[in-house]
């Protein structure tokens, strides 16, 4: 893959991430503040707003992986190898803590916990990337 194509691919992935993040923030903002008393269909529509941007972002990641060279693929694989056990550890611990002390749903519901999964991935990516830098 030449440098120009790689840059285009990276820009695509970053752009789709920005749109994904923006759509999530809009949906969260609308559901947290403006639409609590609105009709159900509007709230459901707001909740589903990030779905298409998320699919586009995942497609961009997959396309980027296909276009990557072998070292870049290894970095992504090592990122997953770090992120996946961390996600298991977090979810298992939260589940057990919920049994032990009854976690507050306002602090530990899905809407808060999912964000840790991409954070773990980016952490793993950073660790793996540094190894081969």
């Amino acid at each position: 893959m030449n440098a120009v194509a790689a840059k285009t691919q990276t820009n695509w992935a970053l752009g789709s991430f920005v749109i994904w993040g923006a759509s999530y923030i809009v949906a969260r903002g609308a559901l947290d503040v403006d639409l609590q008393l609105g009709p159900t269909w509007v709230r459901v529509a707001a909740a589903l707003l990030p779905v298409i941007p998320t699919v586009v972002a995942l497609w961009a990641i997959a396309a980027g992986l296909r276009a990557s060279d072998e070292l870049q693929r290894r970095v992504h694989l090592e990122a997953l190898a770090i992120a996946y056990p961390l996600a298991i550890l977090m979810l298992m611990t939260l589940g057990l803590m919920e049994l032990a002390v009854g976690l507050n749903r306002d602090d530990w519901s899905y809407r808060h916990v999912w964000i840790y999964l991409p954070i773990f991935y980016f952490f793993g990516f950073f660790v793996a990337w540094r190894r081969y830098k």
């Binding site: 030449n2 072998e70 070292l71 870049q72 081969y132």
Partner: protein, 63 residues
Amino acid sequence: MKSRLRVLRAEREWTQGDLAERLEVSRQTVNAIETEKYEPSLSLAFKIARLFRMRIEDVFDPN
């Protein structure tokens, strides 16, 4: 695995970017191979050897 890639590249006065372009990989990959942080796949090793018109064992030394 020892690699002579840096020497071979320097002999031709290529930058890492030049070599990466010729091999269709990223500059980071070339750097990682040169600094022996990453061992290339067999297909990439063949590609490197062909580019320099050498045998694989003349570019990479497993010992």
